[in-house]
Amino acid sequence: MSSRDTVLASVRRALGVSGQEAPRRQEVADRIAGHPRGIIPARADLPHAEQIELFKRMVVGAAGSIDHLADPSEVPGAVAAYLRARNLPLSVLRGQDARLADLPWSSEPTLDVWIGPSDGKQLAGLSHAFAGVAESGTAIMVSGPDNPSTLNLLPDHHLILVRARDVVGTYEEAWDRLRAAYGPGTMPRTVNWITGPSRSADIEQTLLLGAHGPRSLHILLVGGV
């Protein structure tokens, strides 16, 4: 008997089941098909404008920073201003995402914009979020050539563009949108939920920012001002 069969048989023996019982199988199939939501915190049950305000507060509460821009055309200028304010080279790495490619980068002629995944040598990365979650100030990132996952983790400074219309109240709403985009039961290779910059409290429980991932996380929230 393979180890797989040994483990499954011993689970079934302990549960006193054969694995063939129709009602059990139905219950499991129903749960996966229906994916019931459970308890949803009321804090994000707000009109969209207030969800956006909650999102902004929660990002800051998680030690991230945020710029709220009226229009996507302001993004190149905001990226350059972020880098200048921190005395960083005017250089940023991004993925192929058309929503980033279409931004008016020529309005910032001194800003170098590179395209591709990160090999750890870049100080600043820019990604486009799939969604933002108001209840905890979380940005949801999906992998792929548009927004390679290495950009989320390797640069010292991670800038994330979140469109106001992509801000939802809760995780569950984000899952609904993901299912709509990828099909039920299907996921991109990596989904990263990011809530603030990297940190560690492993030395004497002192909280320090910038452990292995980005030392700072900056959200560019666009629209809905």
Binding site: S10, T190, S200, G213
Partner: protein, 477 residues
Amino acid sequence: MSVQITSPRFKDNARHALDDAPLQAALSKVGPGFIGRRTAARDLLPEFDALRDSARDIKNHTLAHLDLYLERFEAKVKEAGGHVHFAVDAAEAREIVTRICRDRGAKTVTKGKSMVSEEIGLNDHLVACGIEPVETDLGEYLIQIRGEAPSHIIAPAIHLNKDQVEADFRRVHTHLPPERNLTEPTALLAEARGELRAKFLAADVGITGANFLVAETGTSIIVTNEGNGDLTQTLPGTHIVLASLEKLVPTLEDVSQLLRVLARSATGQEMSVYTTFSTGPRRPQDLDGPGEYHVVILDNGRSAMLAGQLREMLRCIRCGACMNHCPVYHAVGGHAYGWVYPGPMGAVLTPSLIGIEKGANLPNASTFCGRCEEVCPVRIPLPKLMRHWREKEFERHLTPAPVRYGLGIWSFVARRGWLYRPATDLAMRLLAMAGRAKGRFASLPLAGGWTKVRDFPAPQGGTFQAQWKARKSGRAS
């Protein structure tokens, strides 16, 4: 680390821990920090307790249907192009991992924090096979370079102070200038970041644990604050997930319920910094991510726990709240428990996994104050389960002879009311008289084992039976 089991020597371990001044200084910070942060996070979320009920129910439902969720998970991982391996015990899990590493000619592997890796003693095995494991969680890295085991499930190096860390870095990072300044914790963190960055980029295989496995989608999930586990599973060509079989949850909605109580219970955060969902290997168009994805699902005694009371322990989501709130853990720290899982959760889990013969002492490492159960996000009745082990221990004659004789005499007397009442009444009066001055005893004949390390309160009123009688007759005392 080594998985040498010292649980049978719990009492000696505890005594040494109590005499270890630096350890006591480190432990004194455990309670205030963790407890306050958890309470603050709980108070910010009115639905917190309702979410704990929901978390408990999700885990109960999953465990009752575990065979079917395991099958579904396996099918979905395969569908996404990944591999699932089942391991009956620790030796088989180690073998699977080393075979994958060898087949890929791996020289170094980076590791995200994984308690299952500690449980199966993976690092020693990899070293013996000529493969260098590099722990990347800062706390795990610290204990790896010290050759120690973790002393806490979410803060593995909580027993260390920064001077010890500085000394270790100077000892190990000999290629760095000796005159560098490492007095500030930020300098220590920056040095670790620099050292490990190079390892992340060079590793052939990345091994992580899993906080959850999602049956709906065939997804493994890790939760970190550092981003180390996330780099571990993104950069190398092969990603291996080590998970025990109770990590299954049905759906993405179910895991969202559990995530809402995990970080709040563990560190008091609203949400951990990185929650990373991995499904299969990189896709054809992807520009990064591992080319291969393996999940090793470990049983190692857990399936047997499904049969009885101990099934409840399999709800555990490894948040650490029970040890953060445990007076015994605060007093002796994690290493005294003698294996990889400390605190109340370890006191219940360890005997299940390594056998009651070796773990018999641990369920006694409790004052039965009940705080662990009060804070557990999946409402595991830890004191009840410790009592279950104590009964087993007694039945199997693993209890020391004086205790057995003592309990024998007590039960003889207790079953005879005419003897019990006057006997306890007399004992009570004597104790109350003797302890009147301070209200507590610093030492007590026949109870030296208790009073050496903690005071015994002097009785404040009559016996329980006398008080009960008084209450029943309406004269509240």
